[in-house]
């Protein structure tokens, strides 16, 4: 019996590892095939992305700009507000408030992202268009704001963990020197947890890059080399959705763009997650 269970668990572990390897493998092969036909430089530095229309062009920069706009919007919303929430929770709120707010953050983090997409279209976009009439119906700003709201609970929760990892002995030391709560927070607690806060920010950005449904709904489907958040754009993820849902025949070059874009997306989020992990490992060393 022990032996059987042992093999069962091993099989489960093996399957999940193999699946990951298979995904990476397929992604690599198809990306390789793509680059047999499109020079890497054209792909990475080209400024026009029209793989489905004539004349075809495979410059990914417009999609990268689209994703960047979303990330900037999301960061502007989520990082300061998330950190402020965390500071309130960790340094000012009583145990009772925290017991109520923490689970709410987790519920917010679990809302399906398509709901945020709807929220962007039906709520945020109309407000933006009232404030700035030149705003297009589909625009990066609305999607970016909503992605920011979406990752905010994660930022707040991770930053709260980082702040709370600072030993109370440091707070006591600072208070005993005549510091106010604000001085203790701003000059001792936040600096001492900077690496944890930074790791939370990196993870949030990584999630914003990978976010799909809200940007597909709200940001548009126009690959657009622009930094104007009020225009319609397309992100890497939204492009993948568009092609996956469309009738592009498998095996064609147009179809292989999926994998090339996917590989870029995968590399970016992987690198960001590795950075966040490295930072977290370093800051765990400080107080343990």
């Amino acid at each position: 019996m022990e032996q059987v269970l042992r093999w069962l668990f091993f099989a489960c572990a093996a399957i999940s590892v193999l699946t990951t390897l298979a995904v990476v493998g397929v992604l690599s092969i198809e990306t390789f095939n793509f680059f047999q036909q499109v020079p890497a430089a054209d792909f990475l530095f080209g400024t026009r992305w029209t793989p489905l229309l004539e004349p075809k062009s495979y410059g990914i920069l417009p999609l990268l700009f689209g994703t960047t706009l979303i990330v900037i919007g999301a960061a502007i919303v989520a990082l300061p507000v998330g950190l402020a929430c965390a500071i309130y929770l960790s340094e000012y709120a009583g145990a009772r408030t925290r017991d109520v707010v923490k689970p709410i953050l987790e519920i917010l983090a679990g809302i399906p992202t398509i709901v945020y997409g709807f929220f962007a279209i039906t709520f945020v976009t109309p407000i933006l268009r009232t404030l700035i009439p030149s705003t297009e119906v589909f625009n990066a700003a609305s999607a970016g704001i909503v992605v920011g709201i979406m990752v905010l609970p994660m930022v707040a929760s991770l930053c709260d963990d980082a702040l709370r990892a600072v030993p109370n002995a440091l707070r006591d030391g600072a208070y005993s020197l005549g510091a106010t709560s604000f001085e203790v927070t701003a000059r001792i607690v936040v600096p001492a947890s900077l690496s944890g806060i930074f790791a939370a920010f990196v993870l949030a950005i990584s999630r914003a890059i990978g976010e799909t449904m809200a940007v597909t709904l709200a940001a548009g489907a126009t690959p657009n080399l622009t930094l104007n958040p009020l225009e319609s754009i397309q992100t890497m993820t939204a492009y993948i959705v568009q092609v996956s849902l469309g009738d592009t025949p498998a095996g064609t070059l147009s179809y292989q763009t999926l994998f090339a874009v996917g590989a870029v997306l995968f590399s970016m989020t992987l690198i960001l997650n590795l950075i966040a992990n490295a930072i977290m490992n370093r800051y765990r060393d400080v107080y343990e």
Partner: protein
């Protein structure tokens, strides 16, 4: 004790509870200026809680209630118009475990003067505080190194220097040597004699020899109650209370 001294700090019928758990029960204790007062007693008897009430460090613990009065220079530090920050600037504290900030040695000492707007002559302030804490010679060439690289004994003296940088009148010390080796402990005890020239010191210790060696007055607590208080010599050689006698002769605790 060469000459008589004034009472600088005093607990008047102070009771402190965590929730409905009474930790300090109607303690009245005078603290004489430029003297060392030690508080001894078994673990959990309320020594730290009483000590933290002198500079309002219990304010940060949920559900703490205090009744009675703590007076500093005849002002109640718990009066509704008293400023706890001002209280803490006059009454510094050193904790059981050294708790230097994760900053440079220099920045640790300069921290309190900086946030309190005393930025003038900072180098001199830092040097003076480090000298007072008998740490200057060991760190003068590495002021920009992280304080976390110092040994435990050095870290504790750095924490003393950090507290002295604001020139407080009182220094509260909660078992400052409990995490230190005997050599570091001896250095800090020597230091206390020097600091006494200018400072009033209250030290909590579970080490009776230490209390006997360093202090002018000793208070013995048990279960939140102050059992006996008096000149250290009297309390150790000729205690009035039987519990005190049993404790100082090592028959319990």
């Amino acid at each position: 004790m060469t000459q008589p001294s004034e009472v600088l700090l005093q607990a008047n019928a102070v009771s402190i509870a965590y929730g409905d758990q009474l930790a300090v029960n109607a303690v009245t204790l005078p603290i004489y200026q430029q003297r060392i007062t030690s508080i001894i007693g078994p673990s959990g008897c309320g020594k730290s809680t009483l000590l933290r009430s002198f500079n309002r460090m219990n304010d940060f613990i949920d559900q703490v209630t205090l009744t009675g009065k703590v007076t500093f220079n005849d002002q109640n530090v718990y009066a509704s118009d008293a400023d706890p920050v001002a209280v803490r600037l006059n009454i510094g504290m050193v904790f059981q475990k050294p708790n230097p900030f994760p900053k440079t040695i220099y920045d640790n000492v300069a921290w309190a003067p900086k946030i309190n707007g005393r930025r003038d002559n900072m180098d001199d302030r830092v040097e003076q505080a480090l000298r007072q804490a008998a740490l200057w010679d060991e760190v003068k060439d590495r002021l920009q190194e992280s304080a976390l690289n110092l040994s435990g004994g050095q870290q504790q003296r750095l924490c003393i220097a950090r507290a002295l940088a604001m020139n407080p009148l009182v220094l509260l010390m909660d078992e400052p040597c409990s995490a230190l080796d005997p050599v570091s402990t001896a250095r800090i005890e020597d230091l206390l004699f020097e600091l006494k020239e200018t400072l009033t010191i209250v030290i909590v210790t579970h080490n009776m020899q230490q209390a006997a060696r360093v202090s002018d007055f000793t208070a013995f607590m048990e279960n939140g109650v102050l059992i006996e208080y008096g000149p250290t010599e009297t309390l150790f050689t000729n205690p009035e209370n039987k519990r005190t006698e049993e404790y100082v002769t090592g028959r319990f605790g």
